[in-house]
Every structure is written in structure tokens, then in C-alpha cells.
Amino acid sequence: MAEANIQNKNNLFQLSPEGKEFVQGELSRYENKYSAIIPCLYRCQKENQGWVSPACIRYLSQIMEIPEAHIWEVAKFYTMFNKEPVGRLHIQVCCNISCALNGGRELADHLCQTYSLNAGEVSSDGMLTISRVECLGSCGTAPMMQINESYHENLNPEKAEQIINELRAKYGS
């Protein structure tokens, strides 16, 4: 998986036919075509194993007719676009103030230790990436983490581990 990603970095990237259609749709959806950049970047990220590579930018620039530097500026500005490969389960643990008051940072450290990963690193099987992130808007249910697109709230280390292990088993098979 990790190797595939590295290969991907050099390779040309292309969206699926549905993806292309999506891009065309977004281009005409908004008043100006630049607004389509963010949705299209999301689409690329989805079709490129969870991250936006320079090849994606080049491709988008071509089909959207927007300068690469501009798309890259946007991609770099927003944290939800991963500029490096991530695992299939991207675990984002909130470490901001409300979570910090309830042990969010300790949870992140615990998970990093448990899976012997540094924050932001992809595990050797390409399954996990653990990141410490800023507030995810779930402060009343702290500590919490986001795995890919879903929130997991009111956690403690054991519960978090259990969720990750379950998902890992599910995604691994």
C-alpha cells in the first residue's frame, strides 16, 4: 500500500469517469469556477487513497483550466486535504482546550503508543494514521476522535482502542 502510494506520486493521476462528470458539474454549479476547487479536491482525495498528490493538482489544473499554483495554494491552505499519504483509517484526535480538559492529549499519546506510531505517520501496513488535530466541534462529548468521516465521542483509551481495532478488522478484510 505504502509502495503503491509512492508510485502514485510519480504517476499520472486521472479521475474516474464519474469523477470527471462530477468536476464538470461542479464547474457549472457555482457562479465562478474557482468555487469548484474545494469540492474537486475532495473528489481527488477520495479517488487517490486519501491524499492529494501533485499529480492530482496537475490533472485538476488541466481539466478545470485553473493555474496549478492556485489550486496548490488552496490545497495547502486547508488542513483537510492531506498532502502526504495517510492510512486507510485516518484517526484524528482532538487536542484542543475542551478535549485537553478531559484528557484528549493523553488519549492521543496513548493511541500513538499503543500502535507505536508517531503523529502523522502511516503504519507499516498502510492502515493507520494518527494525527493530533484542533477543535472538531464536539467539545461537549470530549475527548473525541474522528475516523475518516465519522465522529467517535465520549472516549476513554480502552473504548478508543476497541473502536479502532474493530474498524481495522473490518477495513482489513
Binding site: N32, Y42, Y78, I97, G137, E149
Partner: protein, 427 residues
């Protein structure tokens, strides 16, 4: 004492769907509004004294009044980029009652004469985005959006736009930049968005809660709305309580409620054996209140401003005595360092500088003059930039250092936390 003006039906799962929403009086207010003159609605909102619920507390009716009176296309943007640490009320509103927001938006759009609106939702809220999209589809299908809404002459289109993880997009011009497909960097003011906003067209940006609150105002009239709250801060507001309380969560209470009642009454107080140390009353950018101040505080715009802090987005963060203030300020400073958009120099460099100073204090390497330096750097960041992010970063620093100075001095002198006994590096 909760007053459920907006959140009355939030516990009902069917309220999410159009059919369920209609069961409890949904979209009847819209029908009523479409019979009214747009001007009357604006007058009503003005009379209700509704103030922006996103943080700045600017009177909504007045904001709408800034729009030019010509017939150019204009936009209504709903700011659902809820990024302020401690705030999670908009997510609740979007997930529990998407139609309430949509109804509020259509009424507001009718009032200001806008043909197109966007709901800009922060990217992490995948669920909210999905729910809103479903709700929009339902509304279009039911003829509540699109051409000639409910048989009137008013047409309106609405779309959901997903952000991608940038706190600064919660600032209105930052959001407009982001919606225009640029980096979410705030724009120079003047021109103000009401004159030149999205695509240089007149634009009104309102928070989710503000737009939803238009529904009860139009339904019951300004007088009834004013029954709750104080003279200058009328109505109810959702408060997101988090931190060290027994029952954290969103609570809708009338403005002007004593903070003490919210924490100790509604939220069930602190965990047993713990004492209140400090409260941040309006999201991480609001200056902190000490326990003693918090017990005196009332939750409305004026009285909090008098205490040198602000109501902000209504995120009450409760801190008990097991926490080190230096450490918490480190967390906040790191957040603003991470989120500064990098446009204006004082903010770009200042947030980084503050973060680094706090980091060196936390690792036991601090110097006594660093505390004073923190204050001076913060003072020189305030009010010097395009948007308020640098103020937001500076205010907590000033208040933390001022109100808990001995903790900072102890940390620097001893190289360890007064509360935890060890330095951050050793933890």
C-alpha cells in the same frame, strides 16, 4: 432554567425530516412571511433586538439595513463554519433541525431580497452536510425552494458548500474568500461585505443560530421574542458548555442568565471534590474569568463586556482546579498559531512567537521577562490586522497572564507547574 424557543423539538428524531418538521408547525412561518412586506420583516428583526450569535454580537437588523437599496443580485451566506474551540451548537442545530435553518434562511433571503444563498459548513461536519443536503432536496421537492416559492413571486436557490478545515473561514470575509475558491484569507475592509462581498456583490453573512432565530421572531413578533433576555440582549441563546462539568452539552437559556446557574444548576456543577478555577465564557478567544468573577457573571453581551470579556459564540468552557493555566494557555496559543492564515504580519509572526515563548516556558526553559514579553507581544497584535484573529489570539494571553500571573511566575521560577508539580516536558 432552560427556555426552549429553538430547541423545543430537538429531541424528536422525526424533526429532521420535512414531514416531521411540518408536524410541529414547520414552514408555516415562511408562508406567513411571504405574505408580509420584506421591509416589515427587517423592521421586525430590528425591533426584536436580535444580535449576531456567531461571536461579534452585531445587531442583525442593522446589518441587513446596510445593504444598498438597488436591485443588484445579492447573496445570503449562512456561516456554519463553527470552528471556535468550545462551540458545538451549530452542529446540533443542523443535525437536529435542518429545516428550521432552511426556513429561517428563506425568510431572511426574502427580507433582504436575495436570490441565492449558501450554507458554508465546516468540512469536518460530514454528517451535518449530508443531513442538510437531504433536507435541501426535500425542500426543493416540496416547492419550498426554487422558482415561485409557495406560489409567491419570490424565487430562491440554496446550496450547501463544504469548507475544508480552516478556522479562519469562520470570519465572514474569510468565508467569502473560501467560497470564491481562494485561500480562506479575510479581505480588506472597506469595502464591507454588505456592499461588496461574495463575487463583489452585496452579501449578508449570518450565523446558523441567528438565521434560525428569525423563525420565532417572525412567528411571534418582536414583542414576544423580547420577553426573554435582557433589554439590550433580548431573546434566548444556545450555550455550549464543555470542560469539567458533570453534564456538558448545549442548553438554550435566555440571555442574562447568571453563569453560576448555568454551571451549577443546569449542568450539574463540577465533578465531586473539584473546585471551580476559571471559566472561559465565549469560546477560546474570549478572555478568561476567574472563579470569583464567574460566580458574579451574567450571560449577556453587556455585562460580560463590562467584566472585560465577551459572550462570543456562547461556548462556556469550565476549568476546575486540577488544571494548570500555563498548560491550557499553551493549548490555546498553539491553536491560534496553527490557524493564523499568514496574511498579516503581526498575526502571522505574533501567534508563532507567543506559541514559542509558551513552549519554552512549558519545557522549563522560560525566563522571567518572557511573561512580560507575552503581554507586550499580545498588546501589539491587538487591532493591527485585517481580521480579528490576532485579537482572538492575544486576548486569552493577556487575560490568562493577568489573572493567573503567580502560576506563570511559579512555572518560570521553578521550571514546573504549580498545579501538576512537574513541567510539561516531564509529563
Amino acid at each position: 432554567m432552560e427556555v426552549k424557543l429553538l430547541t423545543e423539538h430537538y429531541h424528536r428524531p422525526e424533526y429532521r425530516k420535512l414531514s416531521g418538521y411540518k408536524l410541529y408547525g414547520g414552514y408555516q412561518v415562511l408562508a406567513k412571511a411571504l405574505q408580509m412586506e420584506p421591509k416589515t420583516i427587517i423592521e421586525e428583526v430590528k425591533a426584536s433586538g436580535l444580535r449576531g450569535r456567531g461571536g461579534a454580537g452585531f445587531p442583525t437588523g442593522m446589518k441587513w439595513g446596510f445593504l444598498p437599496s438597488n436591485h443588484e443580485p445579492r447573496y445570503l451566506l449562512c456561516n456554519a463554519d463553527e470552528g471556535e474551540p468550545g462551540t458545538f451548537k451549530d452542529r446540533l442545530m443542523m443535525e437536529k433541525a435542518p429545516h428550521q435553518l432552511i426556513e429561517g434562511m428563506i425568510i431572511s433571503a426574502y427580507a433582504i431580497g436575495s436570490q441565492k444563498s449558501y450554507i458554508y459548513v465546516r468540512g469536518e461536519y460530514f454528517d451535518s452536510i449530508r443531513i442538510l443536503r437531504e433536507a435541501l432536496a426535500e425542500a426543493y421537492k416540496a416547492g419550498l425552494l426554487g422558482k415561485k416559492i409557495l406560489g409567491s413571486n419570490f424565487s430562491h436557490d440554496m446550496d450547501v458548500y463544504s469548507g475544508a478545515g480552516a478556522y479562519i473561514c469562520g470570519e465572514e470575509t474569510g468565508m467569502i474568500s473560501s467560497l470564491e475558491g481562494l485561500k480562506g484569507q479575510p479581505k480588506l475592509k472597506p469595502p464591507f461585505p454588505a456592499l461588496q462581498g461574495y463575487l463583489k456583490k452585496p452579501t449578508i453573512v449570518n450565523n446558523v443560530e441567528t438565521l434560525a432565530a428569525v423563525v420565532p421572531i417572525v412567528r411571534d413578533g418582536a414583542k414576544v421574542y423580547r420577553q426573554n433576555g435582557t433589554e439590550k440582549s433580548p431573546g434566548t441563546k444556545l450555550f455550549s458548555v464543555s470542560g469539567n462539568v458533570v453534564r456538558p452539552g448545549n442548553y438554550e437559556v435566555p440571555l442574562g442568565l447568571p453563569l453560576k446557574e448555568l454551571i451549577f444548576g443546569i449542568c450539574g456543577g463540577l465533578k465531586p471534590g473539584r473546585k471551580l478555577k476559571a471559566v472561559i465564557p465565549g469560546g477560546s478567544s474570549a478572555p478568561v474569568l476567574t472563579a470569583e468573577e464567574a460566580l458574579r457573571a451574567h450571560l449577556d453581551y453587556e455585562s460580560l463586556a463590562q467584566m472585560g470579556t465577551m459572550l462570543g459564540s456562547g461556548a462556556v468552557i469550565v476549568i476546575d482546579d486540577s488544571h494548570c493555566m500555563v498548560d491550557l494557555l499553551g493549548v490555546i496559543a498553539h491553536f491560534y498559531h496553527h490557524e493564523s492564515c499568514g496574511q498579516c504580519t503581526p498575526c502571522r509572526e505574533g501567534t508563532g512567537w507567543i506559541d514559542k515563548i509558551l513552549h519554552s516556558i512549558l519545557s522549563g526553559q522560560g525566563r522571567l521577562q518572557d511573561i512580560h514579553l507575552l503581554e507586550r507581544v499580545s498588546e501589539h497584535m491587538m487591532g493591527k490586522t485585517i481580521c480579528a484573529l490576532s485579537d482572538a489570539a492575544a486576548m486569552p494571553v493577556l487575560s490568562f497572564v493577568n489573572k493567573f500571573r503567580e502560576e506563570f511566575e511559579f512555572y518560570v521560577r521553578e521550571g514546573r507547574s504549580k498545579v501538576r508539580g512537574v513541567s510539561h516536558a516531564q509529563m
